[in-house]
Each structure stands twice: as C-alpha cells, then as structure tokens.
C-alpha cells in the first residue's frame, strides 16, 4: 500500500487536503506512529479515520471554534460574577451552613478560573484573538435587565434560598450550553477536550447546588437528605428528572429545562430536545428498558431513568436568550448575547 501516492492523488483533486489534515508533517507523524502501534491490517482503517476527521469539517455548517470560545467566556463571566457578588454578602453567607459556604466558594473559584482559562485559550495561538470582556455592571441578577422590566428574582443577592435557586439555573444552563457546542468544537480536539473537562466541572457544581437546595441552605450534611418525589422544583435530585417541574422557579426558569432549536431531528442530525426527552439514537429508552425486562426495574422507574440518565444539549441562541435575563439592556454584553 502506498499511502504517499494515495495522499498525492487526493491532492490532485483537493489541493487543500494537507491543510485539512492540519499539516503535512503532522499527518506523517500520525501515520508513522500508527504503523508502529497497529497491525498492518489496521492501517487502512486508521487512514480512513484520519480522512474522516479531515473532511468532517468540510460539510459542517457550524459556528467557528473561536465563536464558541467567546460565547463560553461570556457565560463563565455571567457565573463568576454572580458568585463574586453573592459570596461577599453576609445576608447570603449568613443564610448558609458552613459546608455550603465552603462549597459555594469552591464553585466561585472554579468559575473565576474558567474565565482565566478561556481568556488564555482565546489569546493564544492559533486564535490569537482579543477575548470579550463584559463589564461587571452589565449584569443584573434580579432579572430586571437593569430596570427594563419587573425583577424576576428581586432578593437574589440577599436571600440564600433565591441565590441557590438562580445558581442552580445558571449551572444547569452551563451544562446544556457546553454540551450543545461540543460538536462545533470537533475541528480542534484540544479545545474540545478542555471544553468537555469544564463541562463536567459545571455538572459537578450543578449536582452540588441541587443537593444543597434539597437539603436546605442551612443543612450541613445536605447529601443525606433524599429528594421528595414529585417536588422537583423545591427538592430536586442531583440530576435533572423530566423537566424538573420547570426548574427552581417555575414560570421563570422553564427555558433552562425546555427545548432548544431545532427541538426535533433524526439520529443522523444534531438537535436540542427538552430535558424530559426519552429518545436517544432514535430509540425510546424507556421502551428499550421495559422490553429488556430487567429484574427490579419497574416501568415507572424505567421512564424516570430514561430521562434522568441523559442531560440534553441546548443551542447557542436559546442559551443566549436565557442569559439575557440577567443582563442590562443596551449594554455591549446584551448586544453580544443577542
């Protein structure tokens, strides 16, 4: 097999083949490494994978990696700033147990570090770009958008319970936002892996906040408190069940658990169903579990599991609409989220 001739032939019809493969040098490093590691029989398949990776982006109509990075940075600023304001307020910290204060300070530090990390990635090669830099005053966590409308959460920065409720909505949104953009980052595997790593930290935060809300702001061993069935708004599980009864503040947080755009599609497309979705890879997972007749798994529990076991992604436009609730109208940040 002559890989060099094959690539050379591809180049005759697609002069950009080597650009698609990152660089000529990297392709040959990749292939020579494969040759050392794999049986000869596996090389054609491995080369197929290389070509698939190279051409996956050729047909994609997806946002650029840099656009996603700046979008993620805006969301991290939204979160970091929220904890920065709340956790210096004694009316918040005074309403929380010692363990809960510690947990929220951990989350606060993580979010601020995510901001630093993303700014570093955007500033460095290959992007070498200037990261977006929203002003602290652009945010309004009451949901009044700087006075443009009535506040959704008037006591968010003075009441621990409200603070935790908004925190849960922000973290659950963050999880869905990173997930919704994952496939847009496949052109840069380093960024994709970093984003998936941040994504999992956001999910850890969300789980902890849900645990705290379930146990109560002043309960130190919140994890020992079980969720009250049927009370997902006030007593959430650490994972999302159905639409979580529209979230911590029904009527205000519905979109965090609702569908994105497009909400439906086939197994071959990327789409953004609501959190109560039961279908994965075109199979109804509840039906799949029931037909597997697994000992000890009741039909109602199969339906719950089919929803809870999968966090659903959200598209950029839907996430931006959620984020705008916490931004003053007329500011540069509001414009970036529009």
């Amino acid at each position: 097999m002559n890989i060099l001739n094959l690539l050379s032939d591809i180049e005759k019809v697609d002069p950009e083949v080597f650009d698609r493969l990152d660089s000529r040098r990297r392709v040959f490093q990749h292939l020579s490494g494969l040759g050392g590691k794999l049986a000869a029989a596996a090389v054609p398949l491995a080369l197929g994978a290389v070509l698939n990776k190279a051409y996956a982006g050729a047909t994609a109509t997806q946002a650029s990696v840099l656009e996603v990075l700046n979008y993620a940075l805006l969301l991290e600023h939204l979160e970091a700033n929220f904890y920065n304001l709340g956790m210096v307020n004694t009316s918040i910290t005074g309403g929380l147990s010692a363990n809960n204060v510690k947990a929220l300070n951990t989350i606060r530090a993580d979010e601020n570090n995510h901001v630093i990390f993303l700014r570093g990635v955007i500033s460095a090669a290959p992007f070498s770009s200037t990261p977006v830099n929203p002003a602290v005053s652009d945010f309004d966590y009451t949901g009044a958008q700087g006075g443009a409308r009535a506040a959704l959460f008037p006591d968010v920065l003075s009441n621990a319970a409200t603070f935790l409720a908004v925190a849960q909505a922000l973290e659950d949104t963050g999880v869905r936002a990173y997930k919704g953009s994952a496939t847009d980052l496949m052109a840069n595997k380093t960024v994709l892996e970093a984003a998936l790593n941040i994504h999992s930290v956001e999910a850890r935060h969300a789980a902890r906040l849900r645990t705290m809300r379930r146990g109560g702001a002043l309960t130190d061993r919140a994890s020992l408190v079980a969720a009250v069935p049927g009370s997902a708004s006030t007593s959430p599980k650490s994972w999302v069940t159905g639409r979580d009864a529209n979230g911590p503040a029904p009527g205000k947080t519905d979109a965090v658990y609702g569908p994105g755009t497009p909400a439906t599609g086939t197994a071959a497309t990327i789409f953004f169903p609501a959190e109560d979705n039961l279908t994965q890879a075109s199979a109804n997972i509840a039906t799949l579990l029931n037909s597997a007749a697994i000992a000890g798994l009741t039909s109602p529990n199969a339906t719950l599991a089919a929803s809870e076991a999968f966090d659903e992604p959200l598209d950029m436009a839907t996430v931006k609409a959620i984020a705008r609730n916490f931004v003053r109208t007329g500011t540069p940040t509001f414009a970036l989220l529009s």
């Binding site: 097999m1 002559n2 001739n5 094959l6 032939d9 005759k12 019809v13 794999l38 049986a39 029989a41 596996a42 054609p44 398949l45 491995a46 197929g48 070509l51 698939n52 051409y55 047909t59 951990t106 989350i107 570090n113 990390f117 570093g120 994952a182 496939t183 496949m186 595997k189 994709l192 970093a194 998936l196 790593n197 941040i198 994504h199 999992s200 930290v201 999910a203 850890r204 935060h205 789980a207 902890r208 645990t211 919140a222 994890s223 020992l224 650490s238 994972w239 071959a268 994965q280 199979a283 997972i285 799949l288 798994l297 529990n301 199969a302 719950l304 089919a306 809870e308 076991a309 659903e312």
Partner: protein, 238 residues
C-alpha cells in the same frame, strides 16, 4: 489495482471527491483501493484478550464495557446492601443503578451487532474482589472511584470520535456521570464534589477536570476485568 488508476484520469472533480469522501463507508473502500498488497493475516487471538474493535465502534464498545462494569457494581449493592447504609442511600443507589442500565442499554442499542460480546463465549463476569462491598464507606469509596474514572474517560475519549452524532450522544451521558460523581463524593465526604484530586487546582488548567485516555482508564480498572485483559491498542489515540 495500481495506485494511479483510481484518480489517474483527472476526471474526478474536487466537488465529487468531497462528496464521496464525506461518507465513511466510501472512505474505507477508497483507502482500501489504495492498497496494492494482499491483506495481511489477522493477528492471532490470545486467550482471555478482550478485543474492543477500532474507530468509533471500538470507542462505543469501550464505553459499553465500562458501563457494564458500573451496572454490575451497583447491582451488587442493590441486591445485597451493606448493613450500615443510612436513610436515603438505598434510594440513591437505586437511581445510580437505573441510570447505568439506561446508559448500558442505549450503548448496546447503538452498537447493534457490533458489541465486543459477539466475540465472547459467555458474558463477562466482573471481578470485584479488589473492593469492599460490605460497608457503607467501602461501597461509597468504590462508587466514587468508578464515577470519577467514568467522568475522566468521557472527556478523554470523546475527542477521539469521528461521528458528530456519537459525540453528541455520549456528551449527554458524560455530564450525568459528573453529577453522579459529585453526589457520591458528597455522600462520602461533604464538600468534595469537585475535589482537588479530580479538578486541577493549580497552573493554567486550574478548575479544569482531568481527562484520561482509554489506555489510562483501562489500566486503572484492569483488576475488575480479570481474568480478561482489555486490549486498547486498536482504539484511536489521536
């Protein structure tokens, strides 16, 4: 066939080529068309080697195997709970088992006839002799180990996938694994949901979780697969 005949005429337009190469099935045959040597003999199978396959299918089998391990573990706790479990623990382990079942059956469905099990004579029995299943702290320690490992496995292997829809599907599971990990860690030691041992606490990657490659994950979990040895060499590594 000779190397030049496929493209030799120059009649293949770039647009056509992009369309052809965009389909993965076509890619495999195109690449195979570049071969002039007869296919080499397959590597002989060594006894107790567990082969996962290649490319996206191999990675799906890797996640399927890890999920089978997790479900088998939770099933043991649900069947024979340690006597000192506290109120609420049992319901939590039921949820973790049920979620694992949903993931396992989804992965099995996605793999169809390509599960690694078709190459086995009998289903894998996992070896839990390395962990303590008879005390609360024992099962929470093991659950934390498995959930943290799973979180790292998803972050490390998703970038190795080729099909965007598979990335999208597995990303839905990845964050639920992180929720599980955080919950189990808090059950064991409150406040450790994003502890320094799983989330980097210094340097440029501060507050970013640690991804692990399939090779690293299988190495950490190898005791559970005994007497089988999971072969990772065929999985994508870049």
């Amino acid at each position: 066939m000779s190397d030049s005949s496929f493209f030799g005429s120059g009649a293949l337009e770039r647009r056509t080529f992009l369309r052809v190469v965009g389909a993965s099935a076509a890619t495999a045959s195109l690449v195979l068309a570049g071969c002039s040597d007869p296919a080499p003999e397959p590597t002989p199978t060594v006894q107790n080697q567990l082969l996962l396959g290649e490319s996206d299918t191999g990675l799906l089998n890797y996640f399927y195997l890890l999920k089978q391990l997790e479900v088998a573990f939770y099933q043991k706790i649900v069947d024979t709970p340690p006597s000192n479990l506290v109120a609420g623990d049992k319901a939590a382990f039921d949820d973790l088992r049920d979620h694992g079942l949903a993931h396992r059956e989804t992965l099995r469905f996605a793999l169809g006839a390509s599960t690694y099990e078709t190459r086995l004579e009998r289903p894998l029995a996992f070896d839990f002799s390395s962990i303590v299943l008879t005390s609360r702290v024992g099962v929470l320690t093991a659950a934390q180990q498995l959930e943290d490992l799973s979180v790292a496995a998803y972050a490390g292997a998703l970038p190795l996938l080729v099909a965007p829809t598979t990335v999208a599907l597995l990303a839905k599971i990845a964050s639920v694994e992180a929720r599980h990990a955080a919950f189990v860690r808090d059950l064991r030691t409150p406040g450790t949901f994003a502890g320094n041992d799983v989330v980097v606490n210094a340097g440029a990657l501060q507050s970013v979780s640690l991804a692990k490659t399939p090779v690293q994950v299988v190495e950490e979990a190898k005791a559970f697969f005994l007497p089988f040895v999971v072969v990772t060499q065929s999985l994508p590594s870049a």
